[in-house]
Symmetry: C2
Subunit: 175 residues, 2 copies
Amino acid sequence: MKYCSECAAPLSFRIPEGDHLPRAVCDACGSIHYENPKLVAGAIVESEGRVLLCRRAIAPRQGFWTAPAGFMENHETTADAAIRETWEEAGARIELGPLFSLVDLPRISQVHLFFLATLVGTHFAAGPESLEVRLFAEEEIPWDEVVFHSTKQTLRRYFDDRRRGQFGMHTFALD
Amino acid sequence: MKYCSECAAPLSFRIPEGDHLPRAVCDACGSIHYENPKLVAGAIVESEGRVLLCRRAIAPRQGFWTAPAGFMENHETTADAAIRETWEEAGARIELGPLFSLVDLPRISQVHLFFLATLVGTHFAAGPESLEVRLFAEEEIPWDEVVFHSTKQTLRRYFDDRRRGQFGMHTFALD
């Protein structure tokens, strides 16, 4: 961020009065441009004991498997974002269950949310951002080819909880 | 957002190739400026059955009571944000418990998170953004003077759960 998005003047980086962190400040028009963490929402989609994963067609980590998830848009809810991303990436209609994990990723300033969900019907198909979409039984999951850490850790906790017979809500941070 | 923050050229608003929503696009340098929902983190701080609320010294809703909460910063976790906001607004050290509510506010593109917490020690004091900080028993809370909706609804659920003897995780949307 180098120029003010309101008036195009060059930005200064300094602590505004009454604040405690440096911000991108415009000395010409007075705008302060805050930067905040981004939310990613996704779903652990179950169908007859198997879980839906997408093989990524795009960077980063093209060719690796992950759960459907993506950046939340303005004016949508976290639940709607998870449903939308599952439709876009996996061509799947889902019924959303409870929130299952909230994963803090402070290094990259993101927070990832995963909901439990069940596949509605049997249809799914790779969207433009996926090479392939598949249902995996736990023992079939190619763990070495699963990204990202938040998804992988969420999936591990999902199968642990399923074995215990009770799904909890998991809040954890990853570096 | 009118000008590119990377090169100061005027922005166009159009759907980039491969996307499905209009974005602020720079035709000069190719940057796409995404806008995403913001996260607010806060705490329902309990001490000997009472709950800590702050009377706001600043707009919006100056003079009204609310739980300590505020915008997450880059490179912090949701838990750290809740602890920091409680320190800044209420001068209170807390021990954070589990996540209690996730509130979607799609109209204003925000997601609010509240953690359960207990006050450490007995000290608290109004920070620069608060006129007054006080512990309230449930029957003392001036509900008509409590903002915002996400806080109010979270507090209602907190007292409901306490009466039931079990705290759940609450996910809900407000307009």
